[in-house]
Symmetry: D2
Subunit: 347 residues, 4 copies
């Protein structure tokens, strides 16, 4: 079996794991107050290029989204997101669990547009009854999106401008940020993100860590008493070192970016493999997730030899499936994929 189902199938990137092993016997203070957390924060701030940014580590993505959204929204506010946004569709209602509405706005290929966000806000404030409605209090975007697509710098700048006009913080879910940053042809840098977003996170779980996301708060927008709020939500790890050591490793000598680049290279190879064999792509993804439309019978044929991710039904006879790469994807994996496809096509 060869595995392409997701980018979190293997454990930690070997260099990350090695740092956990090396530091294992050190006695360190708990709850994120250890020196590795401090080191990792410094390195991230350096990568981001903003010394006064504030970095916090949280164990998982859904948790991070819920913590950030619920601590930053005010009582009467909800968060704007694409209907396909992870918080809207695939987090089991974890935002609503905190008491706040996810306000769904139209999307295209997983992306919001400045135009649609602005139109929503204009309609909202133009409605005489808007005091009886949930106020838009934040905009959530994912980059890459759930469909692997990316915002351009222009698009991001425009959304950011609308957010500032309406005084809504812009929050970027960067669960797969490594792949967004290293995508060929993207014009969006980590520094751009820091400039245009108010808060974002740099995903670890899906980019070489066992777990962990690094939230970056810009321009003083970290909520007061954040540690207590995190604890209150059950999201404070006792051994905070687990996150600190891993992010220290990821941001040493550019490992995080290397992981991203490697997976992108592998994804481009997969793209070529499918393209050259005439497969249909659900959309054009420039990142590590490729969405292919497979005929159901074909899916059956390969399913015992290749693991892929179910995405959605395409039509009665076809399904959209995901092939994802990561640091753990190998040359052998690609070769095996080719073999399996060719044999199935011939069969």
């Amino acid at each position: 079996m060869v595995y392409f189902g997701s980018d979190y199938l293997a454990g930690a990137h070997p260099e990350v794991l090695e740092r956990l092993v090396e530091t294992n016997l050190e006695c360190l203070s708990g709850y994120g107050t250890d020196k590795y957390c401090d080191l990792a924060k410094e390195k991230i701030k350096q990568a981001v290029g903003v010394p006064e940014a504030e970095v916090e580590f949280i164990a998982g993505g859904t948790q991070t989204n819920a913590v950030v959204v619920s601590t930053m929204l005010r009582d009467h506010e909800g968060v704007i997101a694409a209907k396909t946004g992870h918080i809207a569709a695939h987090e089991a209602g974890s935002i609503e669990y905190t008491g706040h509405k996810v306000i769904e706005v139209p999307q295209e290929n997983g992306k919001l547009s400045a135009k649609d966000v602005k139109a929503f806000c204009e309609a909202f404030y133009g409605d005489e009854n808007h005091d009886h409605m949930v106020f838009p209090g934040m905009v959530y975007i994912s980059h890459p999106t759930e469909y692997g697509t990316l915002y351009t710098k222009k698009e991001l700048t425009d959304i950011s401008a609308v957010c500032r006009e309406y005084k809504m913080p812009l929050f970027m879910d960067g669960a797969r940020l490594a792949y967004g940053l290293m995508s060929r042809g993207t014009d969006v840098t980590l520094q751009d993100i820091a400039k245009l977003c108010d808060v974002f996170y740099i995903g670890g779980t899906k980019a070489g860590a066992l777990c962990g996301e690094a939230v970056v708060f810009m321009r003083g927008c970290r909520p007061a008493h954040f540690l207590t709020s995190v604890k209150r939500r059950g999201a404070l790890l006792a051994k905070g070192r687990l996150l600190g050591v891993q992010f220290d490793a990821l941001f040493t000598d550019g490992l995080y970016f290397e992981i991203g680049k490697y997976a992108i290279d592998m994804a481009e190879r997969i793209k070529e493999i499918f393209k050259s064999r005439g497969f249909k792509f659900f959309l054009d993804s420039p990142t590590n997730q490729q969405f292919i439309v497979l005929e159901n019978g074909f899916m059956e044929k390969i399913k015992d030899r290749v693991s892929y991710g179910f995405w959605e039904k395409y039509d009665d006879t076809h399904t959209v499936v995901r092939f994802a790469t990561s640091w753990s994807t190998t040359e052998e994996d690609l070769k095996e994929l080719e073999t399996v496809l060719d044999e199935a096509l011939r069969a």
Copy 2:
């Protein structure tokens, strides 16, 4: 000024108020345990035709929706509603405040269809990742809808069947049920509703009471320890008599239905007034709310003489406005409306 802005502009229907006055000096036990609450419950059960139904009184509509939805949903569930449903759009996120998602499903003129609800459920359970999503745990409909439209018996039967297939209780928001039941040409009776819905409420606030909604739970679906759950949500009135006496009055000698019928008659007259003058209707409403598309300049002209409800922007030069009737609408009101319209049309 003549008032058509909504159906809750005047106080209580005179007969309701009279009962409050008559019973005012009686000493009655609190929290809904008084004899008038008991009487009112009996009369409602009789009207509904189901002796084993369970009736509970709650002060307001948004509160009723939040109490019913949040006590009946299970932990992992959300409630399906039209995007235009009151709980989705105009209750300031009160369902989400209880921790649950409102799952928006397509609508037409404010109505859900059995087909769309079924399609949603099929897609949900057909998605291999649905354990990471909010389960559909209830269906919310309003009857009349927020656009004044009504379900037919056939439509309601079909939705009910889908709900039963997927084991989701069907909840009808009857804030304006009086007008739905007495609409000319509707084929849906209170008994049908009791048969097809699992829980519904008979709205008082918008049909002659100062406040109060009567929730009817069918077939044993009232949550255990309901009084405590209501109190926990701050929704238990100390002087429960206020609700009991009013509903006792409303369900004595068919007053509730009379109120509905009167307002429908008045609404039909209003319809005629606008129709005969060539105004455009936003949609065809068979109940006490009529939605008219007015040219913005025309709106300006009449706004100091007629109060109407802002509904939504129609286009850059037109607006949808609501004209609602109630027990308090008078012949003089209609005449004045005609005068105002005619003068404005001439001007």
Copy 3:
């Protein structure tokens, strides 16, 4: 049967009811935006003596407590209260329902002391691990307390000083404030309360209204977008006039204070009735609630002729019961009480 079980057994004070009747046919805008709400707010601000205070009406006491506490606390905070405080003991966990802890601090006869509150805060901030604990973010007191007792001006001043030292708003639950203000010998005025508290409410339900509490926010502490937050909690009445008209009546010509004074006079008479017959008082209450320790057999004897409130078990053979007065208590009630007691004592 003669009724002393509580102060919310009868309907509205006749003058309050009369105002509801008089204004019933007027068409008024909804959600608290009508002229009677405005008038009532003005009159209350005048009574309070602070023109820039902000007044809001909410239907019930538990609801008011939940709305005020949950909109004013910050994410990491809880509210300090006596273990016997209404929010701690008798509101079915409605504060916790909003996500916040009620921090119980020792009490005496229902009262907190500045000393205990200060000791708690000192211990809290002196604990090196307090970031892992719920921060004290507000102090809740009731005046009169659940035991009918009152704070002196000195006690209130001291608690207020501690609150200011620790930057915690002081919130007074005035469900029975009428009786506190008109108690013989109290040295606390409404003006004192406005000076010493940051937010308090003037109870209507237990002082002559059918329902309704008037929250007074001092010195700009009303939360932003309060109406939306109230709606979000299901606590916004459509016919806000119901509250406005009643409070307008209560604060016209000093009716609220008269109601308080009358009930106090009646309570003093009850006190005398029990005292002269040698009954034991659970504690010395200067307000409209009197707590008497009755032998269980004696309770049985009178229970079909006098209604009282169960309070708590005293010991295996005695029970604490409450006798409360209100505007609806009559001379005949007192006489009947004497008769019943005397006959039972003789039997």
Copy 4:
């Protein structure tokens, strides 16, 4: 510096870490569906001696408590705990964040008694107004407690009996269960716990894991759709293997018990070290946490050479501090402790 501040200062036990390294490159399905989770569950059920028990892994202790309590309580219920219980005192209000009250009951040395729990329940159900109060719906105990103390089998049996009488599940927080089970002289086994409790967790974080707690649900009491409920609370790790592999290691060849035993042996040595030097113990703890009363000046003297945990102020001149042992405590640590104490005593 020698470290005794807590039992979560070092990383993972070497054997646990080794398993993470060994399995790191394997591709495994996410969210706890991998084979190591399955293996670990089987081994835990075997250790517990109940094949039909259900085991679930969650990353941290506060999170586990919040997930278990909030998914098992019904709407109108709260959880009984000691005022010193971790959920009552040191989890930043995470239970209240889920909407439920922690009902504080008297404790002694961190322990509840069957008598006090029963007395509370009797008073609760004996109170005629209990429908207006939070129902006791679960009993939370920690074993060892926050003070290192243990329940005897008799005490646990009695509490369990009260719980069953009142139909409240008994939940044991076993964050440090390893040390409770291996304490010298305890008569409580893992099998006893499985018999007497309805749900409990076997703590990993404080007993050799990097993170992770194993919740064991007995007799079918695991809430339906638990995975979705866990996800909804942000508590579902994508790489569930991180927990599965560690617990698989901990329950292979009795490692978990060895870790417990070793720390107990070390704690007994520490006890002896302090006892022989005449130090005062705050209480007699039979587990891996020892609470010593230190004179403040003495604390100052040693604080740069020994790390301990601040517990609480004892009096104006003394403080209670915690010395905890774990698998990572060494002979050298003990020797150094002796040296530091002796030098400080001489100084």
